[in-house]
């Protein structure tokens, strides 16, 4: 059932104050400069981050030496920091980013059908920045997120705000919190899951970067039972102040018969893992899993 993952909330209030001040008076360049040093600190002393990101990098760059992988860990930490700063800048309204939405027509089609749907995000690119731009959906989005993640996500998405378009559904309740999820989908609302973390459901092993990795199947099981589509959300940083949010990858889980449901779920989970794999091939330094999904448990 529900699995608890350790969550790293990097930085403290003084650190964020410095970054916000740099952003305010020097803009993104100044904040990125400060980040170079801060990233160095994490690179040198945060063993857990180095270990988990190495697990990804050595599979993404299998021919690289240990030294090269270690250097790429720095690049990855710095890249994540930049996207975190972009998000702070964007939510504070101090800097405007150009966001190119791909697949808006597909999304509109789903919205017109009045059916509920699942938004599947992952620690790939700037998913929180993409979410804040989803006010175009003109409907509430229910985020299925663990309690320990709430603080960071609430801050980023301004969830405590009365006019927030987001509401949190806990996966820690009875039966992985599926009852309110099914209810909101039946009401035609959007429910968002993280596709790379097992919230409330077990995981399945699928092929990911030439190895077996664990991905949760909860979103797919719910989609298949309620007959709603899964819209994957991929937000990539494509330039200094530009992002691309891609909605074109739609998965429509539908059971073919009632036998071997786990096998059928596995096919859709594999489809999603392939989507992420393609994304990380195109944007190798926008993989912010920071979690060894290949680990054998």
């Amino acid at each position: 059932m529900s699995q608890t993952l350790e969550t790293t909330l990097r930085g403290n209030s003084i650190g964020f104050w410095f970054f916000k001040t740099f952003l305010r008076f020097g803009g993104l360049y100044a904040a990125y400069m400060l980040l170079l040093g801060v990233s160095l600190h994490y690179w040198l002393f945060d063993k857990k981050t180095v270990k988990s990101s190495s697990a990804y990098l050595k599979r993404r760059f299998p021919l690289d030496s240990k030294i090269k992988i270690r250097l790429k860990v720095y690049k990855l930490i710095y890249s994540q920091g930049k996207q975190l700063l972009d998000r702070i800048a964007q939510t504070s309204g101090s800097i405007k980013f150009d966001i190119d939405f791909i697949g808006r027509d597909i999304l509109n089609e789903i919205l017109t059908s009045k059916k509920g749907f699942i938004l599947l995000t992952a620690h790939a690119g700037n998913w929180q920045l993409a979410m804040t731009e989803l006010n175009m959906l003109e409907k509430k989005i229910f985020l299925v997120i663990l309690k320990e993640n709430n603080i960071a996500v609430q801050k980023a998405l301004k969830i405590n705000n009365d006019n927030s378009m987001f509401e949190i559904l806990s996966p820690e309740g009875h039966l992985g919190g599926i009852v309110p999820v099914v209810k909101e989908l039946n009401n035609g609302n959007a429910v968002s899951y993280m596709g790379d973390r097992p919230y409330g459901f077990e995981s399945l092993k699928v092929d990911f970067m030439n190895d077996k990795a664990s991905f949760p199947y909860g979103a797919f099981a719910i989609a298949a039972a309620t007959k709603v589509p899964i819209v994957t959300v991929l937000a990539s940083k494509t330039g200094f102040k530009t992002y691309r949010v891609d909605f074109t990858n739609i998965i429509k889980p539908e059971y073919k018969g009632r036998k071997n449901k786990k096998n059928q779920l596995s096919e859709w989970v594999q489809e999603y893992a392939d989507i992420l794999n393609n994304f990380f091939e195109e944007y190798p330094y926008q993989c912010f899993l920071f979690h060894d999904v290949w680990e054998n448990k």
């Binding site: 059932m1 039966l175 009852v179 209810k183 409330g200 459901f201 309620t226 009632r258």
Partner: protein
């Protein structure tokens, strides 16, 4: 929605739906007792994947909408708890 059913009819239908929707192999309705805890390993041993299906078919067949997790904790326990709720609310 079906015509008003008796408690016994609802119990039987629930057992049939469980077996069919959850692909419970080698189990017949008579093998499931009315007070068996369905999400317990000593009972039917169902999991959250099965719970999704149950929530969906309760709504599809009887129009039962479980409003929150507190309610689900009380209703999704056994054939009896589900059947009683359906009898009173469907």
């Amino acid at each position: 929605m079906p015509e008003k059913q008796t408690l016994e009819e609802i119990r039987e239908r629930l057992k049939e739906e469980l077996i069919e929707n959850l692909s419970l192999e080698d189990i017949e309705p008579k093998d499931i007792t009315n007070d068996e805890i369905i999400f317990d390993e000593n009972g039917l041993g169902l999991d959250s994947l099965d719970a999704v299906e149950i929530v969906v078919f309760l709504q599809r067949i009887w129009g039962i909408e479980i409003k929150d997790m507190e309610q689900s904790r009380e209703i999704l326990v056994s054939i009896d708890t589900m059947a009683n709720y359906i009898l009173e609310n469907a």
